[in-house]
């Protein structure tokens, strides 16, 4: 690809990344939203976090197959329990990393 094609590619990628991040914020934040929409949007963070996380723990991305034996999943279980008890973001990150490091060493 030439210099100008690269630049156009990056500008195009930038536009389709930025606009979905901007438009809802711009349109929805300036008005009173109906109660049902607020209630629904309140459940979006937990839904999207779970949808991002679960497949990364349980699905092998190379073969796209379900696998309960992945170290990611088995490290996630105690990390989850630690997060429930500690309610700490930074602490959970460090505990998860430590357990994953151990799991990689042992298995």
């Amino acid at each position: 690809m030439s210099f100008s094609t690269y630049l156009l590619l990056l500008l195009g990628m930038g536009a389709v990344t930025y606009l979905p991040r901007l438009l809802p914020l711009l349109l929805l934040s300036q008005r009173q939203l109906p109660r049902w929409l607020v209630d629904w949007l309140e459940l979006i963070p937990v839904a999207i976090l779970a949808a991002l996380l679960a497949p990364s723990l349980l699905i092998d991305s190379h073969s796209n197959s379900f696998n309960l034996l992945r170290p990611e999943f088995w490290v996630a279980v105690p990390t989850f329990l630690f997060a429930v008890r500690s309610q700490s973001l930074g602490g959970t990150v460090l505990v998860g990393m430590g357990l994953f490091w151990l799991a990689e060493k042992l298995f």
Binding site: L22, L28, W36, L53, G90, L99
Partner: protein, 243 residues
């Protein structure tokens, strides 16, 4: 409590910066090795430090950038790469919609600046903090900028020296999954949230196994939030009918 009130009651600019950085560090820790890895791959695909840096500045979306680099390496057309980027990043449409609630009434110029930094990670951190109450838009913006600068620097650094560093040291590969686990736990405010999260997890796994690609994120999130909303509404109505 509005965001400006909170800002005024807590020691000015240094407090904002300190709180923002304290919230952002797990994101930065997770972004660093991933950004380095992207830099290495970009360099192997023929994108030098300047191009990778420019891509990170203009696009700032990790998974879309990885896919774009792989597609470039495979000789894909610019149109195909841009369309893929749109699909991969469309989940931010949902996140931006949810952020409109804590940012209600905020002026447009701020939103234009703020929207640039919305990622899965910054969204999780900021929504959790907004929900807890002791958070405002300026602290949220510091989280965006800290994550953003780390990402840009890491990708450039990766394309310069990344191939010299062994991957996966100290369990660093689990930094972002660990953060998502904690963010998920911090979002569980009651039964409706636990139900929605469990439903989203199950649906996402099944959806991803059946349909390759990234549609599972948006699809499972919309279905699960709708399911959670309907169950909650039903329970509420039953309670009201009883008494």
């Amino acid at each position: 409590m509005t965001s400006t009130q909170y800002n005024q009651t807590h020691e000015g600019r240094s407090g904002v910066l300190r709180d923002g950085l304290a919230a952002a560090w797990p994101i930065c820790l997770g972004y660093f090795p991933i950004g380095m890895a992207l830099g290495v791959l970009g360099q192997q695909a023929g994108l030098g430090p300047a191009w990778i840096g420019l891509m990170s500045v203009l696009v700032f979306a990790g998974s879309a950038q990885f896919i774009a680099v792989a597609m470039l390496d495979g000789g894909a057309s610019a149109t195909a790469i841009i369309l893929t980027t749109l699909v991969v990043n469309f989940r931010h449409f949902l996140m931006s919609s949810a952020l409109a609630i804590p940012l209600r009434g905020v002026r447009r110029s701020f939103l234009i600046l703020f929207a640039y930094g919305i990622t899965d990670e910054s969204f999780g951190v900021n929504m959790t903090r907004f929900r807890a109450g002791n958070w405002d838009r300026w602290r949220a913006l510091v989280v965006h900028h800290a994550a953003n600068s780390t990402w840009i620097l890491a990708t450039i650094l990766g394309s310069l020296v990344g191939s010299l560093i062994p991957p996966g040291a100290f369990g660093i590969d689990f930094a972002l999954p660990g953060m998502f686990i904690a963010l998920l736990v911090l979002q569980l405010h009651g039964r409706a949230y636990v139900f929605t999260g469990g439903l989203a997890a199950g649906l996402a796994v099944i959806w991803k196994l059946l349909i390759p690609g990234d549609s599972y994120i948006v699809g499972a999130a919309i279905l699960a939030a709708t399911g959670g909303y309907l169950v909650r509404r039903r329970v509420r109505r039953q309670r009201e009918a009883k008494g």
